[in-house]
């Protein structure tokens, strides 16, 4: 093990529920000290502001987000994303903050015997190796997709993150633009997420979430998207589409959203917007299929939203 790798793996880590960390402790990917997070009224639970907007504590369980009726009403994309990730047992334990700050699921990163950028190594072994489940938007040196489904959904809602040091961070402020292959997020050492603040929902807005996987449940997404829009008298307004599983960070599908904005909610418009979902894509040799899935998902969800 190189010095750089040993140093990276020995960094102290926060622990919320431990659903990611425990596995990395067992495999030797995390060897530093553990700082257990304990909930305070400010860091757990869902609270509502007078304007109808919500704050979600970082230590709120994913299952609590998935089953909250008011949240599902106000922010259906966030509730659906929480319902769709992992397994019932994991959702019961895992927290929102932990989901945002979890480490990569890349199979090279997870193998303690293999060096990689996220372990202090000098290059990405997946790029020249086997990257079947990796990015189709090659935005930086590391080709692992960001694992956080909740980040992808929160991006569609322009959520802001409050840490113990900073407030009003966007998802992009938190996770970066993918150009830093060493990190899964841009939190400073010792900085912890405290809560997530959501803007008030728009009148009449709707949203859907879906992941493309090979089996029925309990699989990391090949591609996942969240579509959020207001449809007013048959015309798309306030369209937000975000995607996960395809880039080092959750992506906004700006070209697709723009193609829908102000246009009639008809099949031709939707098909055209779906084609634009892959604008700017740079697939790897093994990940071209993800672009087909991305197009299919956009078409699927926008059509269903427009019904």
């Amino acid at each position: 093990m190189s010095v750089a790798t040993a140093e990276v793996l020995s960094a102290p880590e926060f622990r919320a529920a431990g659903t990611d960390l425990s596995e990395r402790r067992r495999s030797g990917l995390s060897c530093g000290s553990i700082i257990d997070l304990t909930a305070s009224p400010d860091t757990i639970g869902i609270a509502w502001n007078e304007d109808g907007s919500a704050r979600i504590g970082a230590l709120t369980a994913i299952a609590a987000i998935a089953s909250d009726a008011r949240l599902a009403q106000a922010y259906p994309g966030i509730a659906a994303a929480a319902q769709g990730l992992a397994t019932p047992q994991i959702r019961h334990m895992a927290t929102l903050g932990g989901n945002l700050a979890q480490r990569s699921r890349c199979w090279y990163f997870r193998n303690p015997q293999i060096a990689c950028l996220k372990k202090g190594g000098s290059d990405c072994p997946a790029r020249a190796g086997n990257h079947l489940y990796h990015v189709a938007f090659d935005l930086g040196p590391c080709v692992a997709p960001h694992p956080s489904t909740m980040a992808m959904a929160l991006l569609a809602y322009d959520a802001k993150i409050v840490t113990d040091r900073r407030s009003r961070l966007s998802i992009t402020d938190l996770l970066g633009d993918g150009s830093d292959g060493a990190a899964d997020n841009l939190l400073a050492a010792g900085e912890r997420i405290e809560r997530i603040e959501l803007p008030a929902p728009l009148a009449g807005e709707r949203a859907l979430y879906k992941r493309a996987i090979s089996r029925t449940h309990a699989e990391w997404p090949l591609v996942e998207i969240c579509v959020r829009a207001v449809i007013e008298r048959g015309v798309f307004r306030e369209v937000h589409i975000t995607a996960g599983g395809i880039a080092p960070v959750p992506l906004r599908l700006a070209a697709s959203a723009a193609a829908l904005q102000g246009k009639p909610a008809d099949a031709a418009t939707i098909a055209q917007a779906a084609e634009l979902a892959t604008s700017g894509a740079k697939p790897l040799p093994m990940t071209g299929y993800k672009l087909d899935l991305l197009t299919g998902l956009v078409r699927d969800l926008v059509e269903r939203l427009a019904v």
């Binding site: 425990s22 019932p88 994991i90 334990m93 089996r215 993800k290 899935l293």
Partner: protein, 893 residues
């Protein structure tokens, strides 16, 4: 120090921040019903309730349970079985049982929640599937689990009735069943294995002294005398220490230097000219074996061993006819190249062994498919008297072929126990289990199939290259000889050896890949000949067992109502395929049936790996005596019992049933002879009375030859092959102690799929599986096996693939989230049809079901997908990436 309440008792929690809840439950409290499998929250085997909610105890920090109430499977039903437990028992919703405690914990929580809010409404399959989506079962017991959970929710198991077709079911649903990984002797050490980081290297120095310098650590070398490692993960040394943490430190202390050798990885690179050679001539005997029997001689050049072509007939003719047809642009000639993926056994109980010496006596608990043979192998290897070695496997958490040899876990446990003078457990972790514990080799199959002008089968050519890693002896193409007679067949098998872990036998070795290719070629021929695919098989495949299955299949409503090709996003299709396996049995198998203390006791040194061997024996004997199965004590899983069969080659039922029936006959006569009092006239349980009053009597019988009188068309398939077949059969018997019997266990499946053409997702909707393996010895368990075989076949068809780093050969799919086995929600409706004729020449009329029943599934799925989307998928698994690529290819064409 904080505390938690576990099953109602207050327990203290350790200060170690890395202690996990499962460590407290299993290691501190010895509540071994909770199982550690994936260590990653994927499989759910470790599920416990914390304040009533199911959680993954393998991920939950122990201290997070402070002040909470933890319930393990042992406490569920402790004061009377929960309806879910009774339902699992009644519906046989389990096989090997290793995943069962996790399912029980989750399902009871679901059922209690459901009953509290929904009364006795019946949950849908979708609701059950979503609720249990955090659990995996490798045997594929999902069909029974659906029925069990639905019925328990509906209140159908609220009463006191507990009936179970599987006789050890109660132990499995309560967590009482002990597996090898659960064995815990006083002073037992934990063993770990140091494995190669290089794909190919010479170990120039191995210094175990620094490891041994750690207090209480034993260490042994596992290197071969040539000191060469040939794949990432090859064992180098092993250590044992008081706990895993110390053992890890000991592993890290070992000093190792090596000289890297050129390496080659995989099927395509391995067969390139000039590729680095994995086994030179002197080291070839070190190669592993991917078949159920020993291999014959074959040419071997560099990394290519083959062709093995003994099952060809008029091969040159076949090649010439195919060449001519190609040149003549014969539209009936079907030619294609198929690729199948490496399939991991992924047993939920890992390979594990616990060795203990008492003086010169060795007791080995092992997760093995062959207690008796393993004892003999150990005695031979370590030059021990056979009566000084005892191998025990009370319960085995899955095997599927991967636990049928003397493995590293056993060697390491024995040698460490000897050195440490203490019992040692070696249990693979999931990474080891999914990388170095064996697999079904991937293969490339080139197929040419030529119908004759008269609509017969003229020529069949199959050339198979198998990706066997550091192993040999793949037979895939050769299996195409024993089905669809043709005027000429050119069948060649090659092993492509490379610096990858050795493959192993896996449920019908060679059968599923052969079927995937040949059954699609047959399907394509039917399309071109414009003949119904079942009718064509009926014409080309004269086997009487399958003829009956074809009649059954062609009468299915699903088949009769096939729809023409569709357009649109979702497209449905129906496909079918055929499979077979040899009827194998093991000579010299002995079964003792005895009266002991007024009860019937049956004993033989076989084992139950989830297939139901215990229940087959109990049911068979109970029927003969007009008793309940629960009245029979079955002793298996112990090599000190009379010689029993290995659980491989679907041979257990056919090996134990005939001697059991013979022994029962003799025992009956002996009981009657010694009876001092006849049963009361008109007694409805005369044998019960006689047995209760009988003195102890024991009868042991040996498996004899089958009757020579067989039904028309029922012959040994090897006889059809002529002299080479006879030689093959003789070799199987001489070197592998397996006899090939007359008649062919067969399976025909009809499958309906729906393809989502936008997202590349394949949903299997309906499966009909018709199986001809003679009389069904234990119907509920055979049903479970039949469904499990389909589910494992669906995994092979749609999800499962070992992925590698192409240069180092590191197995990247070494965790359960990346190696994707089917979940409960992927399970279709499965209709099982047993055709019970065909084996009247076997005493008891029954042969094994395990392998024949899984052979056709991947081909039937591929044929159904072709029916749905008009594109033939020639590579499995048929994942979304392959579906979208195939559709694009068609659109582009």
């Amino acid at each position: 120090m904080s505390t938690t309440t576990i099953n109602g008792r207050v327990e203290s929690l350790p200060d170690d921040p890395d202690a996990l809840l499962i460590d407290i439950v299993r290691d501190q409290l010895k509540l071994t019903g909770t199982k550690l499998v994936c260590g990653a929250g994927v499989c759910g085997a470790c599920t416990v309730l914390v304040d009533g909610a199911p959680v993954a105890s393998c991920l939950m920090p122990a201290h997070a349970a402070a002040g909470k109430a933890v319930t393990t499977v042992e406490a569920i039903g402790a004061a009377g079985l929960h309806p879910v437990q009774k339902a699992f028992m009644a519906h046989d919703a389990l096989q090997c049982g290793f995943c069962t405690p996790g399912f029980i914990v989750e399902a009871t929580a679901f059922c209690d929640r459901w009953r509290a809010t929904r009364g006795t409404a019946v949950p849908s399959r979708e609701e059950i599937g979503a609720a249990l989506s955090g659990h995996l079962c490798r045997c594929g017991a999902y069909d029974g689990i659906f029925r069990a959970v639905a019925d328990a929710c509906a209140g159908r198991f609220d009463g006191d009735n507990v009936a179970a077709p599987r006789i050890e079911a109660r132990d499995k649903v309560t967590g009482a069943a002990k597996y090898t990984v659960d064995i815990n002797h006083d002073g037992q050490l934990e063993g770990l294995i140091l494995r190669s980081r290089e794909a190919h290297a010479r170990i120039t120095a191995l210094d175990l002294a620094p490891a041994r310098a750690i207090a209480g650590v034993a260490a042994v070398s596992l290197l071969g005398d040539d000191r060469i490692v040939r794949y990432v993960g090859e064992p180098i040394a092993a250590v044992a220490a008081k706990d895993r943490k110390t053992a890890l430190a000991a592993l890290a202390a070992i000093k190792l230097s090596s000289e890297r050798l050129p390496a080659v990885v995989g099927l395509d690179a391995g067969r390139k000219d000039g590729a680095p050679v994995v086994f030179d001539k002197a080291s070839r005997k070190r190669a592993g074996n991917v078949s159920e029997a020993a291999g014959g001689p074959a040419p071997w050049k560099q990394n290519i061993r083959g062709p093995t072509a003994v099952f060809s007939t008029r091969a040159k003719k076949a090649r010439n006819w195919v060449d001519e047809a190609r040149q003549a642009n014969n539209k009936l000639l079907v030619e294609a190249t198929f690729r199948t993926a490496t399939q991991q056994h992924a047993c939920l109980e890992p390979h594990a062994a616990v060795a203990r010496f008492d003086g010169d006596r060795l007791t080995l608990h092992a997760s093995t498919q062959q207690v008796f043979h393993l004892k003999e192998q150990i005695a031979k290897r370590y030059k021990l008297d056979h009566d000084k070695v005892r191998v025990i496997a009370e319960h085995v958490g899955g095997g599927f072929g991967s636990k049928a040899s003397l493995g590293t876990e056993t060697i390491a446990a024995i040698e460490l126990a000897r050195e440490a003078k203490a019992p040692v457990r070696v249990a693979y972790d999931r990474q080891e289990e999914l990388s170095v514990a064996g697999y079904r080799p991937a293969a490339e199959l080139k197929v040419a199939l030529l119908p004759s002008d008269k609509g017969g089968l003229k020529a069949l050519s199959v050339t198979a290259h198998a990706d066997t890693g550091a192993a040999t002896n793949s037979t895939i193409a050769g299996l195409a000889r024993l089905i669809y007679p043709a005027e000429a067949k050119d069948l060649s098998d090659f092993d492509v050896i490379s610096n990858l872990p050795p493959g192993a036998a896996f449920r019908g070795p060679g059968g599923p890949p052969m079927a995937f290719a040949v059954e699609q070629a047959i399907d394509e021929a039917a399309l071109r000949l414009k003949v119904d695919p079942i009718a064509l098989r009926k014409r080309w495949d004269p086997d009487p067992n399958r003829q009956r299955l074809y009649d059954w299949a062609s009468g299915l409503e699903l088949w009769r109502n096939r729809k023409p090709a569709q357009n649109g996003r979702y497209r449905r299709g129906i496909g079918m395929a055929t499979g077979y396996w040899l009827y194998l049995w093991q000579p010299n198998v002995k079964v003792e049936v005895a009266v002991k203390g007024g009860r019937i006791v049956a004993s033989t040194a076989t084992q139950d790996i989830g297939t139901g061997s215990r229940s087959v024996l109990a049911d068979t004997i109970a029927r003969e005596f007009d008793l309940e199965s629960a009245d029979i004590d079955v002793r298996i899983g112990d090599s000190s019992l009379p010689e029993g069969p290995g659980s491989g080659g679907s041979r257990v039922t056919a090996s134990v049933m005939p001697p059991t029936l013979q022994a029962v006959r003799k025992l009956k006569a002996a009981i009657l002879e010694q009876a001092t009092r006849k049963p009361a006239p008109g007694s409805n349980a005369p044998w019960r009375e006689l047995i209760a009053r009988s003195p102890d009597i024991a009868v042991t019988e040996t498996r004899g030859e089958d009757g020579k009188n067989t039904a028309p068309g029922i012959r040994s398939p090897l006889r059809e092959v002529g002299l080479m077949g006879m030689v093959f059969g003789w070799m199987m018997r001489r070197f592998s102690n397996i006899a090939v019997g007359a008649g062919v266990p067969s399976s025909v499946q009809v499958i309906e799929v729906e393809v989502d053409t936008w997202l590349g997702h394949v949903r299997v909707i309906n499966v009909h599986t018709g199986i001809a393996v003679g009389k069904i010895a234990a119907p509920a368990l055979a049903h479970s096996q039949a469904c499990g075989a389909v589910i494992q076949g669906l995994g092979y068809a749609l999800y499962e693939a070992r992925e590698l780093d192409p240069t180092s050969g590191d197995v990247l799919t070494a965790g359960m989230e990346d190696y994707r086995i089917p979940g409960i929600a992927d399970t279709p409706e499965i209709d099982v049809h047993f055709d019970e004729a065909g084996f009247d020449h076997v005493l008891g009329n029954s042969v094994g079901i395990g392998e024949a029943s899984t052979v056709p599934t991947s081909a039937a799925v591929a044929n159904a997908i072709h029916d749905a989307i008009g594109v033939r998928l020639t590579e499995i698994p048929i994942r979304p990436d392959r579906i979208v690529a195939a559709l694009k290819g068609r659109d582009a064409a």
